[in-house]
Each structure stands twice: as structure tokens, then as C-alpha cells.
Amino acid sequence: MHPLRIERLVYRWPGAERNTLEIGALSLASGESLFLFGPSGCGKSTLLSAIAGVVEVPKGAIRVADQDVGAVHGGARDRFRVDHIGMIFQVFNLIPWLSAIENVLLPCTYSRHRRVRAGDNPEGTARRLLSELGLADPSLASKPANELSVGQQQRVAAARALIGKPDLILADEPTSALDEAAKAAFVDLLARECAEAGTALLFVSHDRSLEQHFDRNVDFLALNGGAA
């Protein structure tokens, strides 16, 4: 089983003059972490949207957990996404008025698959993930998300992506709002947690200083024929 396999993906935004994405092949094994680097605006986020099934992709081009993303439609795609993919964004990952622990548990409320895989006690699993990510203090877990620092928020987002052991985590510049020290610690923790859970990690950033934390590094401009 491949958490992610891309073959001959061609994507063009509706109305655009040329292809945004032209990717020959890219795949990840279970538990493998991949660092995809490239300048801003080169189509990295579009690739993540395509993998997550937010934009319409041609059939057969992207497979997540051996399932063709282009063949799933509508609400089924949303369910498919939450079953197999955890996502971390740049900033504002959390519902501000829910507590940290409630934010972590969100995938379990929308996906039976993730809930089952989170174990008998999803809340306990969430607390364990938070403490492994350095948020052991129980008062932090019950705080509303908007009272946490940016670094804490990103770690809560990581815990949410990890809960229920999805096949793949997509991280879109999650460290851009963090300072240097927090950055390295965050990436290190995230990569380690993914490896332990057997979750593949696709980490996208323009910041090449993070390369050392990953199993494999790929230059997005070299991978993508379309944007060049």
C-alpha cells in the first residue's frame, strides 16, 4: 500500500493559460517523510490541494492509500480526505473557540475510520499526542485555542493531523510563523511522531534549513515541469 502515488499529473487552474502542475511521478511509503522545497507561488499549495481532492484532478493521476482521488466526488471526497489525510496549514489551523483538546478530536467527530483508529479512548489518545508534542499541561489542553501561542497552536494542529493514524499528513509551510528554535523542534517532533505512527509526511516549505529532519528532499521546481 502506498500512502501517496502520483503518476503523470497535469493540472491547470480553470482559465489559466498554462499548466500549473506537470508531475511525472512522486510516491511515498508508509512512515516515510518527504521534504518538498521551492519558492513561494510555484504551485506547491496547488499540489497539496490536488492531493487533498479540493480541486478537480484527472482520473488515475493521484492515488491516496491506493484509492483514486479523481474518481471520488462531492461529499464522499470530504469523507475520503478525513479518513486518510491529516492536514496542517501555515497559520490559523484551529477553531478559535474550541479548546485545544476539542480541536485535536475534530477528525474523530467527522470520521468513523479515524475514531476507530484513535483507540478505545480518543480523548486519552489526544492528550497523549499533546503531551508528546510538548503540551503536557492539562490546563493548556482545555484552554480555548485562541489563547494559545502560535507555536502551541501549530503543535495542537500537528496532534490533530496525527490522531487516528491517517495514511498521509500534508503540511503546508506549518513553520513559517515560528522562530528558528521552535521551527526545528516542531519539525523534529512532527517527523518523529509520523514515523512512530507509520504515517507518511509530505512537508512543503521554502525554507531549506529544515532539510535535515526528513528522509528525503525533493526540489519542487525540478519535480514540476509546468511552473518552470
Partner: protein, 458 residues
Amino acid sequence: MLGFSLRSLWNRRFVAGLTVLAISLSVALILGVERLRDGARDSFANSASGIDLIVAPRGNSVQILMATVFGVGGTGTGMTWESFEWLAGRPEVAWAVPIQMGDNHRGYPVIGTDASYFEHFRHSGGQSLSLAAGTFYTGDGADAAVIGAEVAARFGYAPGTVIVNAHGSGEVSFDLHDDAPFTISGVLAPTGTAVDRMVFVTLEGFDSLHAQEDAPLADPLDPAAMPADGHGEDDAHDDHIAHDDHDAHDDHEEHEDHEDHGDPEGTEAGHGHEPDRINAVYVGLIDRTSVLGLQRAVNERPSDALSAVLPAVALAELWGITGTAERAMRLMAWAVTFAGMIGMVVMLSASLETRRREFAILRSVGATPTRIFALIVTEAAILSAVGLFLGLVLLTLATFVTDPILSARFGLRLGLNAFGARELATLSIIFCAGLLASLIPAVRVYRMTLADGLSVRL
């Protein structure tokens, strides 16, 4: 889902609270207008129940009804006692109660009538009057007074209290009949009708109020014109009883003849205590189907210009007059509700922009656009439901506070338990309107989440 919507609303509790308040005010207004209308109608219908016909000097039927049954306004110049006797003697008439009006006690109407009033008056679906304390006019003679529950409560009157009445119907009057006091013999139990606000005195007593004014105009030497002055009250009372017996044996034709030769002054002199003129007669029939025949006979009576009013018909006429105002009020109430609904749509719509990120996050963790659509509708449902509930609470509180005032001023009882099927229907309509209105922001959010996907940037 419900919990999530609740949390989301709680996060915006200030705006959500204002929205709920707007809805609840509109609900209270809509139901309040209906209850006020129903309360007025019930109260009026209850006060007039059991009376088949009201006979009074010729006039507008609504005016006659208002004056006689509710003590509001007055009737025309009095009808003669002969007309009363003629009416009471008609074969289709089961009972007839004479009514005198025009005085007040500290703003409450004073009614002159005889004991048969308490026997025949019916209210609230056929209940007869009962006493909370004391007795009806028995043994106390001409100065006995029976008072309504509210009069007693307002002034702290009890049997034995001596009261003084004033001429006219205004609340403030300097023309006090302080030379003709009454002693309260009984206090009526509350009825929720205009009776609660009335003071009943005997016909003799009522006349004695005016004896001093009338006497010089009539005959200063006629001792019968001043019944309260030189004569023992027990004597007068005995006379009255004797006369009642006499009436019962009288036959109709005799009265007609008597009336033809009619000389009211002479009659009064002859019977001593019989009022010269009365203001109205309540009539009960043996068979209600004869009501139209009797009405015609009354209207055609040549000697006295009289009107016979069917209370139900007069009430219908009254509702015809007030109907326009009612419709205007109801329209206003619905307009306020409409404004409340718009307020809710504005609140939900205005928050959509700032919540775009929230919806994107929800989609990234697996919420479908349909689910987010449902989230908005659920929020609207919560706002509407809480608004409806709060509206009912508000209305109940308002009823609780205003009920004593309304009943004191207008004899209206709103009733706290008046939650009926029609109100349920009204609430359902408002609730559905709320859901329907929420489709506007919900459809917008559905389209927005589809277009935004997961990558809204702030």
C-alpha cells in the same frame, strides 16, 4: 452537531443574544396582541353571558351594551318603570332585572338594581355570582351595597364598611352624595368580568341619592319623594316585598292599561320605593327563539322610545368597529417579527466572512459543504427556538406584571394559561420562517466553502 452549533453561537454570544432578544420581543408582541384581543373578547363575552336581551332607552346598541354591561359611558334618558313592568309581564320573559346607572364610587360604576340581579346574572360560561364575604341585600334595607371583588381589594372594604358615592362617572368628582351613605353587606367573589369593578346598591338606595335633587323639582310637600328621610327603612323594605308579590299576580293586560293612563309621578307616589326611571333592563327568556319577536315588540312600543339589544349582536358590531385597529396591530406585530428575522439573517450573514477560515478548517477535518450548510441552519434553529422560548417567558412576565393594571383599568384578564393550539401554530410559523430565512446565509456558505476549499488566506 447541536453542541457544536451551540458552542459556535456561545462564542458570538453578544450578537447572538441581541438577535434572540429581537426575536423574543417580536414573539411576545405577536402573542401579546392576540392574547389582548382574546382577553378583551372573552372578558366582554363572559360579562354578557346569560343575558338574552338588554332593553334600554333608544340608542346605539354598542353604546347600550358598553354602558350597561361594562359600566363604560351611559345610556340615554331613562326608561319608565311602566315599561319595566310591561316587559317583566310579557309571557316569553322568564326574568327581568332593572338597572340604574350614572353614579360612581371613587371611579367605579355604581349600579342600582334589585336582588334578582344576583340571582340571574351569569358570567364565564354560566357561573352565577357568589359571595366572598357577607350577604346579598338582605335585611339591610335601602342602604345596602354589594361590591365587586376588585373594588373590595382596591380599597380594603369589607362587610360593614360605610361608603359614599359620587354623581357622574368620572374618577374625580366633587359632587359627593355624602348625605346618603351605604353600608356594604357583601363582597362578591372574583369573576374576571366587569362585575368585579362594580358597586351594587338597591333601587331604593340609588333613588335616595337623587331624592334631594329631584324633590324640589317635583313636589316639596310630597313625603314619598324623600324615602330615606322620614320613613323607617324596614317599612320601605316590607313595601317592596309586598309589591313583588303583587307584580307576580299582575297580568299583562292590566299593565298595558295602567301604562296607557300613565302618570309616572303618580305611580311613584303610589308605590313609594319604585324608581321613577331606570336606565336599562336585563331580560332572560323562557325560550330563546322568541328573542326576535320580543325585540320587535320593544322597538315598536309607542309610549317609550326603547331599544332591545342582543348582546351577541352588539358584541359582533363592536368587534367590527375595533377590527381595523386589531388588524393594524397584528400587522405591526408581524412586521416586527419580520424585522427580527432580517436581524437574524444579517447576523448570520455578517459572520460568514469572518468565519471563512473556520469553515475551511472544518472542511479540512472532513466536514462536507452540506454539513456546514446544516451548521448554519442549526444555528438559526437554535436562535429561533431560544427566541421563541424567551418570548414566551417575556410574555408571561409581562402578563404577570400588567394583569392587575389591565384588570383594574379595563376589566381585562389575559390569563396565564392561555397557551392554545393557535399560539402553537403561530410559534411554528415563526420557527419555520426562521429556518427559511437561514437558507439565505446557508446557501451562501455552501457556495463559499465549495469555492474556497481548504486554502483561504487571510
